[in-house]
Symmetry: C2
């Protein structure tokens, strides 16, 4: 069952890639994926400030909007942005991706699926407005980000 799910995720990841490689240059793929991660990161930081640090007062509407954004980006088919030629720097354009990612697409699909699951759960939890539950769900998203960064993001 697990391998079926991984297989399906790989198909989604690679399927997305097939329809998009023809249209988006490797340079643009790198810039667009970095944009997606940067925008997710900003939204993670907004939630962190409200449920972990407490440096900003908890605002359920803002947290929910941020969680929806993280989930939408996680589910937007980012696999299409890891096409051929995007495994290393292109001129001045720097990528932190570990080239090993491209040899382990099935595991990457699993990690991406874990992020989607955790982000969907955070978005659903944020809608309920329970700050403590949001804190737990937020932690799970953070773990799923970190799991991939530790394996496939270089310094």
């Amino acid at each position: 069952m697990k391998s079926m799910i991984v297989g399906a995720l790989s198909a989604i990841l690679l399927g997305g890639a097939v329809t998009s490689f023809a249209q988006v240059s490797p340079e643009d793929q790198i810039e667009i994926r970095q944009s997606g991660y940067r925008y997710m990161s900003w939204n993670m930081s907004k939630i962190k400030a409200q449920v972990i640090d407490g440096s900003v007062e908890y605002n359920q509407q803002q947290v929910s909007a941020a969680a929806n954004t993280i989930a939408a980006i996680a589910n937007s088919g980012m696999g299409a942005l890891f096409g051929p030629g995007t495994d290393k720097d292109i001129g001045d354009l720097h990528t932190r991706v570990d080239p090993a990612l491209f040899d382990n697409m099935q595991e990457v699909a699993q990690l991406a699926g874990d992020l989607s699951t955790a982000a969907d759960n955070l978005a659903a939890t944020a809608q309920s407005g329970d700050k403590d539950a949001v804190r737990v769900a937020f932690g799970e998203v953070g773990k799923s980000c970190k799991a991939c960064h530790e394996k496939y993001r270089m310094d």
Copy 2:
């Protein structure tokens, strides 16, 4: 009634700003907002390829995921990314924003509200899977992007 709505939108836009200015540098605000627009643009291009150009076969799941991403980013409180000091280039960091935007925040809030409305409608329409309806809803999002670009984005 209309002025009440505009007032409420301004409050949302500026309210978002108040909680975030302290934490995000002007440089980061410019980079993050550019990331958000770039990621929206990629998702617009995916829908365009499927419902306007026809260069990619219509895939309801992909179109819906793209529409959800556009709507989520449109609703993510981008007003917080137009804080003091973000009205012009900072060193090598170039922004295309017209400084006039910062003197017309009430109109900008209205334009941002128009984008949110059109993007929410596109996301709801995409979920139904009717390609013709998606084409119409997509056109309305494009118009709302253009309305702001023509007024407040420089070449």
